[in-house]
């Protein structure tokens, strides 16, 4: 794509926020309807059906749900020589029993999962109407994909399945997340998500599993992590026990180890395994490390045309790209060597808590950014 093309796109991008205002309620209605359909990982079917129904209503091509539960459709381009993939994950970390009632006020929408990722999915449902209304038609065909089984133990199963089995070679991809506006992710860190389970055999040991877990956490804190490879160990969640007055028989710890070096993750995971093996020698103590998810390091350079043009689009809209360039959402694309970026649509907070919310006003800028990025990538695809 030459400079004249990107200047044309930037010029169009400037006018997009104003042009997008008439589509605001349509997007918000989709946000509300999607948010109120519970979609725990492995239980996204109803939400996926809603998305497929929206694709059908618009008259997109090849609307279907695949065998792992991804909803997909094609918005044809003018020449269809290339395909750009636009995805958002459908699942949330909330169980179906959570109250999924949305509250809409003038500035914000509150609902469990609204930021991660009902807004992203609502964008997929609304974008064909928006593009048509704006008179924007890409050269490339646009593959729209609401993915299932992404989070936690889903381990990005939906997108991995699609990229492995898709009939359409994907030239580039954009992954849409609800928040935060300003995210521009294009690299994936190597990571290992694990769950350590501790079980005590009461017949021979009267300790609490939580006590053992505490020792494990202490030992994990003493691991030496290489600083030069930006390696981190995140202790994400603990659970265990049945009552305050009985020593816990079971306890679990979920953690993530991440680094920009694949080998470091392999080495440190090995150290954790050895540590557990040693501690598991205590009589009546059983320790088990289970894989939740793994990702591979890689991605685009900051000078890659897709990254550079997207940054130009963001700057034109007054969006300051965040410093962090890493996200696990890029992993599957790294594995398939597909250039991909991750974008956010608005600001919000309390993610993964019951009072999760998104801000309404910035959404317009977020959509303008996404459309600008799509146009830039479309141009780059045809260079």
């Amino acid at each position: 794509m030459n400079n004249i093309d990107i200047e044309k796109i930037i010029s169009r991008v400037h006018s997009l926020p104003g042009e997008l205002v008439p589509f605001r309620e349509m997007l918000l209605a989709n946000v509300v309807m999607i948010s109120e359909i519970p979609a725990p990982t492995f239980g996204e079917q109803e939400r996926i059906s809603f998305l497929e129904q929206r694709f059908n209503e618009y008259g997109l091509m090849n609307c279907c749900t695949d065998e792992v539960g991804n909803a997909q459709a094609i918005l044809p381009g003018t020449d269809n020589l290339q395909a750009i993939l636009l995805t958002a994950h459908a699942d949330t970390p909330f169980p179906a029993s959570e109250n999924h009632t949305c509250t809409v006020d003038v500035e914000k929408i509150y609902c469990p999962g609204v930021a991660d990722n009902s807004l992203g999915l609502a964008l997929l449902a609304t974008l064909p109407t928006i593009l048509e209304g704006l008179g924007i038609r890409l050269q490339s065909k646009l593959l729209l994909l609401g993915t299932s089984r992404s989070l936690d133990q889903g381990n990005q199963c939906g997108i991995r399945f699609f990229l492995t089995n898709s009939r359409y070679p994907v030239k580039s991809a954009i992954v849409v997340e609800g928040i935060p506006l300003g995210r521009l992710h294009y690299r994936s860190m190597a990571s290992f998500g694990g769950m350590i389970s501790c079980t005590i055999d009461r017949k021979v040991n009267h300790k609490s599993a939580i006590e053992i877990l505490n020792q494990i956490i202490y030992q994990l804190g003493r691991l030496t992590l290489p600083v030069e490879s930006h390696t981190d160990l995140v202790l994400g969640a603990v659970s265990g026990g049945a009552s305050y007055k009985i020593p816990a028989r079971h306890a679990q710890l979920k953690f993530q180890l991440r680094s920009d070096d694949d080998q470091v993750v392999i080495d440190v995971t090995g150290q954790i395994n050895s540590m557990l093996e040693e501690m598991g020698k205590e009589q009546g103590v059983s320790l088990h490390l289970e894989d939740i998810a793994r990702t591979q390091a890689g991605g685009l350079d900051s000078s890659h045309p897709i990254v550079a043009k997207t940054r130009q689009v963001m700057t034109a809209l007054g969006i300051q790209p965040q410093k962090s360039i890493y996200s696990p959402i890029i992993t599957s694309y790294v594995e398939h060597e597909i250039p991909a970026i991750g974008l956010g649509l608005t600001y919000g907070n309390n993610i993964h808590y019951g009072d999760e919310y998104i801000e309404i006003d910035p959404i317009i800028t977020g959509i303008a950014q996404l459309i600008g990025a799509l146009m830039a990538i479309d141009g780059a695809c045809h260079d």
Binding site: E25, L28, A29, N30, V32, M33, C102, V104, V106
Partner: protein, 326 residues
């Protein structure tokens, strides 16, 4: 008396029967109908935004079923009006509609003034406190009026399975319906027992009917509608649509007592006016409830008046507005 089972078969619908919105809109446009949505409010900031966003997007922008979406408010002190207006609803203060008639605080007042203020040949009333709002709450009750000209008044009902046994699904109304209204209907208007949820706040009605009936301004408005429309047009004029589940605020038993009292007053007035029960004494407006404080008990008296607005057709300003006094 018509066969209630036959009526249940022919005039009871499920919202899924009407989910083909393009077809519904085609039928609406063919008849040149205008449809107005009225949401009566009083301090509903938690739910009003969602209702307006959904109805405007789905039933105006995407599928043009509604010609206007109006919020008619009894004097909210929270952000109800600001939120509704920000998402594109027409917002009215009840006190400012037909000021010559004054203002009375009550949901029925808002519903009555909607007849004057709104343009529709059909007016759809939907309560503002529904947590699981969905477009079906409107199209489900409007569709029978569009497809069947003999139907004039459509009530919503909601599936409340109380028990499941061998395919029999007892479907009931709320507590006030089952303990008060249905027993009263069984005694005096047996055909009206076929209306599964006579007190539901969601109904769609033709203007020609609304403008001819009086409106109690408080709790009795739904009950009085059913009796008055029944007297005028018979059960055949009614239909009802199953809208599945409705999630709304839970009401305390004490509040339901007030509601029941208001309904009873309205009901008794109808019995008296229509000569069904002679020599009813003058009815008090005082509801007496009791509360305990340690070992002592005290009486709490609530004054509950069920004032009524006359049929809108009797209001000069309305007759002038619709051009029948020229």
């Amino acid at each position: 008396m018509i066969n209630i089972n036959e009526w249940l078969q022919s005039n009871t619908f499920h919202h899924e029967q009407f989910s083909d919105l393009p077809q519904l809109i085609k039928a609406k446009e063919k008849q040149g109908l205008k449809i107005s949505l009225c949401i009566p409010t009083l301090n509903e900031e938690k739910t009003i935004g969602k209702e307006v966003v959904l109805f405007k997007s789905e039933l105006q922008d995407r599928y043009p079923l509604l010609d206007e979406i109006a919020v008619i408010d009894s004097g909210s002190t929270d952000r109800t009006l600001e939120i509704a207006a920000s998402f594109g609803a027409d917002v009215y203060k009840s006190a400012e509609i037909l000021p010559v008639m004054g203002f009375k605080r009550g949901k029925g007042e808002n519903l009555w003034k909607a007849i004057y203020q709104l343009q529709g040949d059909i007016i759809v009333y939907v309560d503002a406190d529904i947590k699981n709002i969905h477009p079906r709450f409107v199209y489900g009750i409007v569709a029978p009026l569009i497809y069947q000209s003999e139907i004039k008044y459509v009530k919503a009902f909601y599936d409340r399975p109380l028990a499941l046994s061998q395919g029999i699904r007892p479907t009931g109304g709320g507590r006030v319906t089952e303990i008060l209204v249905r027993p009263l209907f069984s005694l005096f208007f047996p055909e009206l027992t076929a209306i599964i949820q006579p007190l539901s706040g969601e109904y769609a009605v033709r203007r020609e009917v609304l403008e001819r009936i009086p409106f109690p301004i408080g709790y009795g408005v739904e009950t009085s509608h059913l009796i008055d429309v029944y007297y005028e047009y018979g059960l055949e004029a009614f239909a009802q649509t199953d809208l599945d589940k409705r999630v709304h605020r839970h009401q305390e038993t004490r509040d339901l007592g007030k509601m029941s009292f208001g309904i009873l007053r309205t009901f008794c007035k109808r019995l008296k006016d229509r000569g069904i029960v002679a020599n009813l004494p003058e009815l008090t407006a005082n509801l007496r409830q009791f509360q305990a404080l340690d070992n002592s008990y005290e009486q709490v008296i609530h004054e509950i008046y069920e004032e009524e607005r006359p049929p809108m057709l009797k209001i000069v300003a309305y007759r002038e507005k619709i051009g029948i006094d020229h």
